[in-house]
Each structure stands twice: as C-alpha cells, then as structure tokens.
C-alpha cells in the first residue's frame, strides 16, 4: 500500500516538476527576439507562434548542421510537446476549456524551436562565410 502511494505521489510531482522545468526553458527562449528572416521561414507574427508548426520546425532543425548544446533543449521541449498532445486528447472531452491553454503551451514550444532554428541558420551562415574566406 505504502509503495503504491509513494509511486503515485512521485509520479504526480515528477509531472509537475517536468512541466515547470520545460516552461522555464520556454520562458527563457521567449526573451530572445527572432530575426525577421526566421519569422518569415517559420510563418510567425512578431511574438506568436502556431503550435502545429512545431513538428515542421524540428524537421528543419535536423536539416541544419548540429550545435550540440541545442539538441538537449529541443529534446526536452519535444517531450513536453508530445506530453501536451496526450493531455489534449485525454482532456478534450472532460475539460474543453483546457484546450486554449494547451494550445498556448504548444505555441511556446514552437517558439523555442524557431529560436533554435534561427540560431542554427546563423551558425550555418557563419560556417559558410568561414569556408569561403579560406
């Protein structure tokens, strides 16, 4: 009985910490301004992003040369994004009002992916400039 209780409590707190941790990463990325070019590629307005763009952005990120430190950030937020998808499916019938919150969270994930993509494009440009100068 006690191990089952510990298990349930631990699972719930883990979810809460994981959500807060992912949100702290997204909030961090919100401080970064996207370049006009990146906004155009991603199809974003000045500060908003559509959650359904996330998968496309992750695919675009994978096409760019890798910056190792970005990988982890994208992976964690991708896990959060898919978790939100699962929550949306589960809550859709029980709490339809939650869907707007979920969508805003998913758009945060997409914004972070756009920031990473922007960084990678800049990195690729820098590499190409270095190569052409040699």
């Amino acid at each position: 009985m006690i191990p089952a209780l510990i298990c349930v409590v631990s699972f719930l707190t883990m979810l809460q910490f994981f959500v807060s941790y992912s949100r702290s990463m997204i909030a961090e990325s919100r401080c970064v301004q996207l370049s006009a070019e990146a906004r155009e590629i991603c199809g974003f307005t000045f500060s908003t992003a559509a959650g359904n763009q996330f998968r496309r952005l992750v695919k675009l990120i994978s096409l760019c040369p890798q910056r190792r430190e970005d990988n982890r950030q994208v992976r964690i937020v991708a896990a959060y994004f898919y978790f939100l998808g699962l929550v949306r499916v589960l809550l859709n019938w029980a709490m339809p009002s939650a869907s707007s919150w979920i969508e805003s969270e998913r758009s945060g994930c997409a914004y972070l992916a756009a920031v990473v993509l922007d960084r990678r494009i800049a990195y690729t440009r820098m590499m190409m400039a270095q190569q052409s100068s040699h």
Binding site: I6, S20, S24, A27, E28
Partner: protein, 231 residues
C-alpha cells in the same frame, strides 16, 4: 553479466558526472555550488569503484550487491546535503542557515531511524534491506522537501533562473527515483530496472551541466512565467 548496452549507459553516466563537475569548475561556480561539485565527485568515484568491483568480483556477486546499495545510500545522503544547500541559498537573506542545517540533520536522523524500524522485523538480509529502505525513504523525503522548496521559491518570487532550473531538475530526478524505488518494491524481478535506473542516472548531470553552461549566474526570470499560463 553485463552487455555492451550496460557498459555504454554506465560510461555515459560516468562521463556525464565528470563533465558536470568540470563545468562547475570551468564556469567558476565552485564556491557557490560546492556541495553539487562534491556530489558529482562522489558519484564519479563510486562509478569507478563499482566498475572495478564488477570487473573483479562480477555483477552477480554479493560484494557488488552490498556495495551497490550502500554506495547508493551514500549518494542519496550527498543529494540530501545538496538539497539543503539549495534551501540555504533560497533562504540566505532570512539568515536561517543554522536552522536549515539543524533541521536537515534532524530529518536525516529521523529518516534513518524510521528506515531501521521498518526493516528491523525482517531477519533476512537486514543490512542491504536497510540501505535500500533508507535510499527509498530519503528519495521520498527529498521529493517532499523539493516540492516545499519550489513552493517557497514561488511565494518569495525567487527570480534566479539558474537556481530555479537546478531545483526543478533535482525535483524531476528525485521524483523519478522515489517512484522507481517504490515500483521496484512492488515488482522486484522486472528486468526493466537494470536499464531504466542507469538511464535515469543520466538526467541530473546532463540537466545541471546544461544549466551551468547555458544559464548565466546573473540571469533572472519571473517565477510567474514558469507557473502561470503563458499568453
């Protein structure tokens, strides 16, 4: 007998521990995060000792079995000390360092005593059962304390991004381990644990290394942005 996957995960965890300790030194955060450095130094040393023991005595040997559980209990205590240092940092302005230290010792002693009483009735393998029970209880106490700390940080409107990410990553780690220990009590013979526990071991050094590398010490973020729904 260990396979290539076991060794790969093992070395990855060992490398991650050493890497995180190195990042703390490289980012000149040693004085502020000495307990975290100490934890990773202990984790690396224990990782090497476990490897040597597996090579000499074997994975299924009694020596490895005892060493594994006792070293795990030592690491849990180290993590408990890290948590207390995070408490001291959050409440530093209130000047309650001594109170936190006394409370931590009391809690640690209490948890050890409760763990002992929980296994005292069992005559079989009391020594290892105590280490296992102590780790399980300390992980759970750690989860509760991290939750309380996170609540206090929200209440005090703590805005140090690095501290926030350190606490949240620790919360994920402790919750995952507390849950896995509880599940292991219910399903002890499942083969999943061998890989899952080793993979979970990777989380903390990787998350903290990222925090030390990418989040500047002076970075600030409103707690409300982590807690309240974003617009």
């Amino acid at each position: 007998m260990l396979g290539p996957v076991d060794y790969a995960i093992w070395f990855a965890a060992l490398f991650a521990d050493v890497w995180c300790a190195f990042c703390i030194v490289k980012r000149k955060a040693l004085s502020q995060n000495f307990t975290i450095f100490l934890f990773f130094a202990a984790a690396s040393t224990i990782g090497v000792a476990r490897y040597l023991l597996v090579e000499t005595a074997g994975f299924d040997s009694n020596s490895y079995f005892y060493f594994y559980y006792y070293s795990d209990a030592v690491l849990t205590i180290c993590l408990f000390i890290v948590l207390m240092s995070l408490y001291a940092e959050v409440f530093s302005e209130l000047g309650v360092r001594k109170l936190v230290r006394a409370g931590a010792l009391l809690l640690l002693g209490g948890t050890a005593l409760i763990s002992y009483y929980m296994v005292a009735s069992s005559s079989e393998r009391l020594v290892t059962k105590f280490a296992f029970q102590l780790s399980q209880n300390l992980y759970f106490v750690g989860v509760v304390l991290t939750y309380v700390l996170w609540g206090a940080m929200m209440k005090l409107r703590e805005n140090r991004t690095r501290l926030m990410q350190l606490v949240l990553a620790l919360g994920v780690y402790l919750s995952a381990f507390a849950g896995s220990y509880a599940l292991r009590t219910m399903y002890p013979s499942s083969p999943v644990w061998r890989y899952l526990i080793a993979l979970m071991d990777l989380w903390l050094p990787v998350a903290w290394a990222y925090t030390f590398n990418k989040v500047p010490a002076d970075a600030r973020m409103a707690t409300a942005r982590v807690v309240a729904p974003s617009r």
